[in-house]
Symmetry: C2
Subunit: 290 residues, 2 copies
């Protein structure tokens, strides 16, 4: 293995996250060789062009078979569907991880394959991304300074787990260790609900029937900031929302209650509404201090 953390890295799905991972591993010399695997030759050519990977293939089994580390970077439902195949195709001792935004079903699928011969699975979720998608927006510092969840279960191989934690730390991520179900509960609150609200807000404005050009002319930075993430990739978020819909349903209920409280508070501005606003302002201020 020499100085490299992993000699050969296979990235399955070389979009924004997969491409950024390739660029980051190259810049920090974490891997000697990087194989990009995807279904579209055109996207793979883009990945080669931006220098995110060294070689490419559309053959999933062949692409992962020699890798020491395999990172699945496709939409979450696709990850769930290819994990059995990847685990079996992985060579003995290989580690398989992913960057999916949900962890329950992915970890269950990864751990369902007995690791007697194939790879060992450890789930990851780097909280990085942007409203842009595709390898053309990839950048080596995408993960720097962000949180990366790494899952741990009673079935987790501890040596593989330790190497995955170190891997993300080498990319300047702050690793947070969680059980898969706890992960899905936390991200429903801090990531999926905000995204859902941004989308709902844009759809509410659309449903108002107001002229789009008028709206575009009068919106300010508050509206722009609040809805920026609604421009994210629909197919990615379709998968995330549907995979994690029970947890999202639970936190959406918290949101509805908060909304009801605020609306009711408007009838008694000083006594009821202002304390609610005050508490939210204080909490939001707290979140900005590190």
């Amino acid at each position: 293995m020499g100085d490299y953390a992993f000699r050969e890295l296979a990235i399955v799905g070389v979009g924004l996250l997969g491409g950024s991972l390739g660029l980051a591993c190259k810049e920090s010399k974490l891997c000697e060789k990087i194989v990009g695997i995807g279904r579209s030759q055109e996207h793979l050519d883009d990945a080669l062009a931006v220098g995110a990977v060294d070689t490419v293939t559309t053959d999933l089994v062949k692409g992962v078979s020699r890798a020491d580390l395999i990172v699945l970077c496709t939409p979450v439902r696709h990850i769930v569907s290819i994990i059995p195949q990847v685990m079996r195709a992985a060579k003995h001792g290989a580690i398989v991880t992913d960057v999916g935004s949900t962890k329950g079903s992915i970890t269950a699928a990864g751990e369902a394959v007995t690791p007697r011969r194939g790879g060992r699975f450890v789930g990851s979720h780097p909280m990085a991304g942007s409203e842009h998608s595709g390898v053309r927006h990839a950048r080596p510092n995408l993960f720097a300074g962000s949180t990366c969840f790494v899952t741990k279960t009673p079935r987790t191989d501890l040596a593989a787990f330790a190497r995955i934690c170190r891997f993300w730390q080498e990319l300047d991520s702050r690793v947070v260790i969680v059980r898969p179900d706890r992960h899905d509960r936390l991200v429903a609150l801090i990531s999926h609900l905000p995204h859902l609200l941004a989308v709902a807000l844009v759809r509410a404005v659309d449903a108002s029937g107001e002229d789009r050009n008028l709206i575009r002319g009068i919106i300010g930075n508050g509206f722009r900031d609040t809805t920026r993430i609604a421009h994210g990739h629909p197919a990615l978020w379709r998968d995330i929302f549907s995979e994690n819909r029970s947890e999202i349903g639970r936190v959406a209920e918290l949101l509805r209650n908060a909304l009801d409280d605020l609306m009711a508070g408007m009838e008694a501005p000083e006594e009821r509404l202002e304390p609610l606003l005050e508490q939210a302002s204080q909490y939001r201020g707290f979140l900005d201090h590190r």
Copy 2:
């Protein structure tokens, strides 16, 4: 009047908006003299210190009595309560406007005073601000590039109206002319609802019972962007929400419906959810092109 648009400007309430207005008028030489009026001598001293005003007084009637233009920059319910006094104290020919985020009740109050001797009222709402408040955060370019609503009703004095429109344009605002009720409907959608959601989201996270330090450690830019405005001034927003609660209730209903559609769509990700996300992404993308 010389080269000045208005010889003497009185700013009632010299906080972030009032202070920025003073700095902007000085920089663009729109007024010869600027009087700052407020209830707290300490805040008025701050306004003098940052150079937003030339003289200050805590006497409202005396402060506005010689002004050619009076701009009311206090919270919206306070504006409603002082307008009668200001209109009567204004000298003949003076123009009175405001920067309040609601326009229905303010315009009604401003127009209720017969302008036989006192000022003439034209409502304004510059869509500018930040999550910070206070004159120490004032800056001369706060209004540059932003939208400024100016109200027009059957009772509006057209000469005064034209001068107010030109005044905001001189500060590089894009003037949008609206009826007061139409204004309140539009801002409920593009400003008050986003603010309400940001507050509700922070309160939902708080209500989840998750540890605040954990939340602070794991939130990403999406959450930060979506909730930034929740850190706004509670008393300002208390007034805005309570003044415009009927229109906000109407758009909150649109939001609830959008949320219901999205939750229901999660049961059929490809057929129902993805088209909803796709439409929102396209609309949000459209809003970024100018």
